[in-house]
């Protein structure tokens, strides 16, 4: 049990050191990082199967008993996030190896990528606030390096914005931890669930709201999303795909974890979260419609879809949170695929600007399919995974009588479809430009992962029934806090 919980964090860290040691040989670095991520994927799948069968798993690092020591906990929610995250990291790594430019030229790409993987896994597995802070920092520092790898002026500029905002959020997080520790004497999440109940309600809500702001900056919830569309598009495609798919979802994970675990019943900021969800959805999609560059449009879509996930959480019912988790899983897969497909377009046609592209469906039909499937899925067209996830959300919304929010989400869905067709008609439809230079061939290692992720999103759609069953069990665990707290305090 110890090994299974420590593997997703320990393996990538050790492999990162190994990658630095064999830095002279790119091929060796690629082999090490790919095998490590395959091993991590296998470990996370095994963890999910075990947790689903037997309930949450916990272990104490270093032998110090809870609540003083570092706890690693895996319940169903964490396990689902771990599996999806590991799959995404593996797919994007293969893509980056195929793309060649950034992975080949910089000796630091593979070690830092593995450290990013370790940080993400640690964030999903950690059982206390301060370790969450540390894993956020590990993840963020790796992302700073990946974002500015290349050192071009636009990368440096957007990297600076991203680093400053993230550092601000980290400072706020540390302040929140200070206040929490000063009021309750613990940072262990399971222990906090008990001790926060003994505080005066105003202080308790203030603490949780402060944490919500911190994670909201990371998750790009309205009105804290402004840094995302600025910084994501200039990174290399593989890096943006990983950020889009994973980093914001770690923020959403932290929001869901703290909001369900630390507060109960009326204390929860339900109205605030509902409004934040609705506004995030609307503002994100309006930004997407207003833009003309593929990556920038997709970045605004990330913001909009985060609104859907927060909507599921804000309902605070089993159905709502189950739908939110299913939506997170679907969105991670689909968003990564879209960014990879967008990167393929840029690779083959040389640009991502819609007014300079046209007719790609004639000259690159496979690319058209690889873009169309996740695009329709994101917009919520049946029979793709987006439809299933949105249906689950709408169902949960109706059951909780939140008509305005459900209506908003449906309208935003239509607008998402509109902006997706904008990309489609701009880049793929129409006559191919006769003066355009011949398209570069896309290497198999780039097309392969994109196709595999497209198939994965179709699998999510087909297997939606069992998946929704899994996420419902996860949501029941989340709302009934004793599952989590008992497993931790038993250590």
């Amino acid at each position: 049990m110890n090994a299974l919980l420590a593997a997703p964090v320990g393996l990538p860290l050790a492999a990162a050191g190994l990658c630095v040691a064999v830095g002279r040989f790119r091929r060796a670095q690629e082999v090490v990082s790919t095998t490590t991520l395959i091993a991590v994927t296998a470990a996370t799948v095994a963890l999910l199967l075990r947790v689903d069968a037997h309930g949450a798993l916990a272990t104490q690092a270093g032998g110090w008993p809870a609540p003083l020591g570092i706890t690693l906990v895996a319940d169903r929610f964490s396990a689902v996030m771990l599996v999806i995250g590991a799959l995404m990291l593996l797919a994007v790594l293969v893509y980056a190896i195929g793309q060649g430019d950034v992975a080949r030229r910089h000796v630091g790409f593979h070690p830092v990528y593995l450290i990013l993987a370790a940080g993400v896994s640690a964030a999903f597995l950690t059982g206390d606030l301060f370790n969450l802070f540390v894993s956020f920092e590990v993840m963020l520092t790796a992302s700073y390096v990946l974002l500015t790898l290349g050192g071009r002026l636009d990368q440096v500029r957007t990297g600076m914005t991203y680093v400053v905002i993230s550092l601000l959020a980290s400072g706020l997080f540390l302040t929140a931890i200070a206040f929490v520790y000063a009021s309750t004497g613990t940072v262990n999440l399971a222990d906090l669930a008990d001790r926060l109940a003994a505080l005066p309600p105003g202080l308790r809500q203030a603490l949780v709201l402060l944490l919500l702001v911190v994670f909201g900056i990371k998750a790009a919830v309205f009105p804290l999303f402004f840094w995302l569309p600025d910084s994501y598009p200039t990174a290399p495609t593989a890096v943006t795909a990983v950020f889009a798919g994973l980093l914001t979802k770690v923020g959403v994970y932290a929001v869901i974890r703290t909001q369900t675990l630390l507060l109960e019943g009326d204390d929860r900021p339900q109205e605030l979260l509902l409004w934040a969800a609705g506004l995030t959805m609307v503002v994100g999609v309006i930004g997407a419609i207003a833009n003309n560059d593929i990556k920038r449009i997709l970045s605004f879509h990330i913001v909009s879809q985060i609104g859907y996930m927060v909507m599921g959480l804000a309902l605070f019912t089993v159905a709502g949170i189950a739908a939110a988790i299913l939506y997170i899983a679907h969105h991670i897969v689909v968003k990564t695929t879209l960014f990879l497909a967008g990167g393929l377009v840029e690779h083959r046609a040389g640009t991502g600007q819609l007014d300079r592209l046209s007719g790609l469906v004639r000259t690159a039909p496979l690319l058209g399919v690889l873009f169309l499937v996740p695009a329709l899925s994101l917009a919520g067209i049946p029979p793709f995974s987006g439809f299933v996830a949105k249906l689950a959300l709408v169902d949960a919304g109706f059951a909780a009588d939140r008509w305005l929010l459900v209506g908003t989400s449906l309208v935003v869905s239509l607008l998402t479809l509109f902006s997706m067709t904008k990309i489609w008609t701009g880049a793929f439809w129409g006559e191919p430009d006769p003066e355009a230079t011949a398209l570069r061939r896309a290497p198999g290692l780039m097309v392969g992962p994109t196709a595999a992720l497209t198939v994965l999103s179709l699998v999510v759609a087909v297997a939606a029934g069992p998946l929704l069953g899994l996420t419902t069990r996860a949501a029941e665990d989340l709302l009934d806090r004793r599952n989590y707290t008992e497993v931790v305090t038993d250590q």
Partner: protein, 129 residues
């Protein structure tokens, strides 16, 4: 004593935020460092009243200082040290590329400015036959 330290943390936060809003990159870096220091100070303060050093057996265990926040602060200081170093390297890279210390304009702002200039040029061309 704790009030004085809390006020000091508040001053650090205020100064750090003000510097963060400046145009020069070096001032932004210093501002972020001050913010991190303010947060670290708050974490230290969460340990409670000053008390005996935490060596087991030296004094009665009830009069020992809580060591956990000190462990937190050590980790946080090292993290902020590493990231500040990276930020400085980034600022230096920006300086070598642009030969100045200023924050670049936002991409969207520059785009809007460029479109306005182009529209003005078109108006001038049409205005003077």
């Amino acid at each position: 004593m704790t009030v004085v330290l809390a006020a000091a943390a508040a001053v650090l936060f205020g100064a750090g935020t003000w510097l963060l809003l400046q145009r020069q990159l070096t001032r932004i870096v210093i501002g972020l460092s001050l913010l991190a220091h303010g947060a670290n100070l708050l974490v230290l303060l969460s340990a409670g009243r000053p008390a005996q050093p935490t060596f087991v057996g030296q004094s009665a265990s009830s009069s020992l200082l809580d060591p956990l926040p000190q462990a937190f602060v050590l980790t946080a200081i090292v993290i902020s040290f590493g990231v500040t170093t990276f930020l400085l390297a980034l600022a230096y890279r920006s300086f070598t590329l642009t030969r100045n210390d200023l924050v670049q304009d936002d991409v969207e702002d520059r785009l809007v400015a460029r479109l306005e200039r182009r529209a003005e040029e078109l108006r001038d061309l049409e205005g003077s036959p």
